[in-house]
Amino acid sequence: MSITVRQAGIQTTVQDLGRINWQHLGIPMGGAMDEQAHRVANLLVGNEANAAALECALGGVALQFNVPALVALAGRDISASLDGAALPPWHTVRIPAGALLVLHNGCRTTIAVAGGIDVPVVLDSRSTCLRAGFGGMSGRALLRDDRIGIGAPSPLATHIHDSLASEQRTVAPWSAGLHVRPAYADQPTVRIIPGPECELLTEASRTHLLNEVFRIAPESDRMGYRLAGPPLSLADAREIRSAGVTAGTVQLPPGGAPIVLMADRQTTGGYPRLGDVIAVDLPLIAQLRASDRLRFAITTLEEAHALFAQREHQLHVAQLAVNLRFGSGRDDAR
């Protein structure tokens, strides 16, 4: 029950939904950058939402499956193949033993495998903490020739697999609908809720923040995205005492170039917090590459929660649809 890494790519890590409840010890939450892609990919292969999957930055990843498997790819601008034949993302795919899956290109691609990636749980999660070197595959990104374990597929996954096998299909004739995929864009507008220190911005800087285009700087990673754009400044440049931050917090260091904190962020920070990207728009940022562009817009907590509830409802309906079709009548996957 394993996968052999033939090409590891730029940075491929094992991630689940992270370890949120260890932040009081300064331990980063980690987890999938694009939580929605991660959850949908798991849904397509009959896994629980929190099952560990591979997260690949850009492309150049080749995986050899040593056993038959059920796989789904999710993310933006994905180009992949299975033994040379093009492989569509957002579909369930049945992989025969020995087949080679190649991710040629992508932004931040989730590769979910039925049964989940089987690495030890450390502090309640299988996510890789690169900063402190624990979790995932020995606390590091994957390397060529690594062998990655796969967990036991769920009954639901087995039904999906058998159904595809009986129809002699590799790619399922159904896929995750557009309404459960994030609305990726080349230059997305991401919505923020103003943060505790937003009012410290000068009037001009506030206008810049909401009207100008920002570019993702090259020194961006799973910890945070540095943005290049018009420099922002504070009317009241007071020092902030180290305080909590979240995925999506937009910080402003003294240099005036904002940073959007991402999955591997520190638990606390000492820079003014201008705002926080809302949950449903985080996947849009997670899938941006260096030199991609974005804009910010302001929204309210009420709207953010309404959008979140709508997304969760759609994911729930998608889960019910999979259960109905493959749940063997006993609804055992609920």
């Binding site: 949120i20 409840n21 300064g26 624990f134 305080a243 979240t246 917090r273 907590l301």
Partner: protein
């Protein structure tokens, strides 16, 4: 701003606990005390965190104390902002301040100067004194852990003598080894894992501050007091061999 009276059973009863709550995105909020009277903010935050943690409301996902605020992560599928802020304001109203129990200070052995503390001489020069005097002052202090953050198990320590306050390095180091003891502005601290860092490095401890595979991954907890004790290079090596 919300007002709530202190619990009458509190040893600090009569203090009005002013606090404010602001959203931090759509899945977290920040609770900040405005006025805690004679109570140290770190005690206030520690007690509030403990008392909420003992009886967590539905949908609460994590409590993260900062230096002057408490961040509350929640699941909007299981609670609403209104019900959570209502719960938190009630918790502030019922808050009982229990001073941190006074234990013997935790001893942090440090080999000062040399390869382990490459900035010790420069720190001494900044303060127009000798490296030995810096070490004497640093080891004479008693430090309180205010919070953990920045890195897994990294303690924010209160108690650095004003004569040791030293600006951070102009150019941060790309790699600060685990165990390094440094001074950054008015703070002193210990790097639990190898990381980039801009603090002035004055020594290194052989103690392991963070190990994800230990039952208690972090050596230190908010409220702990600690003391640095100077050791020789040979003692450092003996300590490392023993552990």
């Amino acid at each position: 701003m919300l007002l709530a009276p202190a619990d009458a059973s509190s040893p600090y009863c009569g203090i009005v606990h002013h606090h404010k709550i602001l959203p931090l995105g759509d899945r977290a909020l920040a609770l900040t005390p405005i006025q805690t009277g004679s109570i140290a903010i770190s005690d206030w935050l520690r007690c509030l965190g403990e008392q909420i943690g003992d009886n967590p409301p539905p949908g609460l996902r994590a409590l993260v104390p900062g230096l002057s605020s408490l961040t509350v992560h929640y699941d909007p599928r299981r609670t609403t902002y209104e019900s959570l802020t209502g719960f938190l304001s009630a918790a502030v109203g019922a808050l009982t301040i229990v001073p941190a129990s006074v234990h013997q200070p935790i001893i942090i052995p440090v080999c000062y100067g040399g390869e382990f503390g490459p900035d010790l001489d420069e720190v001494a020069a900044t303060h127009h004194t000798t490296p030995d005097a810096i070490v004497r002052t640093h080891t004479a202090g008693r430090y309180t852990v205010e919070m953990l953050g920045f890195l897994p198990g990294f303690p924010y320590l209160e108690g650095l003598d004003a004569s040791l306050h030293t600006p951070r390095r102009a150019t941060p180091r790309v790699r600060v080894p685990a165990g390094s003891v440094g001074i950054g502005g008015s703070s002193t601290g210990i790097y639990p894992c190898t990381s980039p860092g801009g603090w002035q490095l004055i020594g290194r401890t052989p103690r392991t501050l963070f190990d994800a595979h230990r039952t208690s991954p972090a050596l230190l907890t908010p409220g702990d007091t600690l003391q640095f004790v100077a050791i020789q290079h040979s003692e450092f090596e003996a300590y490392e061999r023993a552990s």
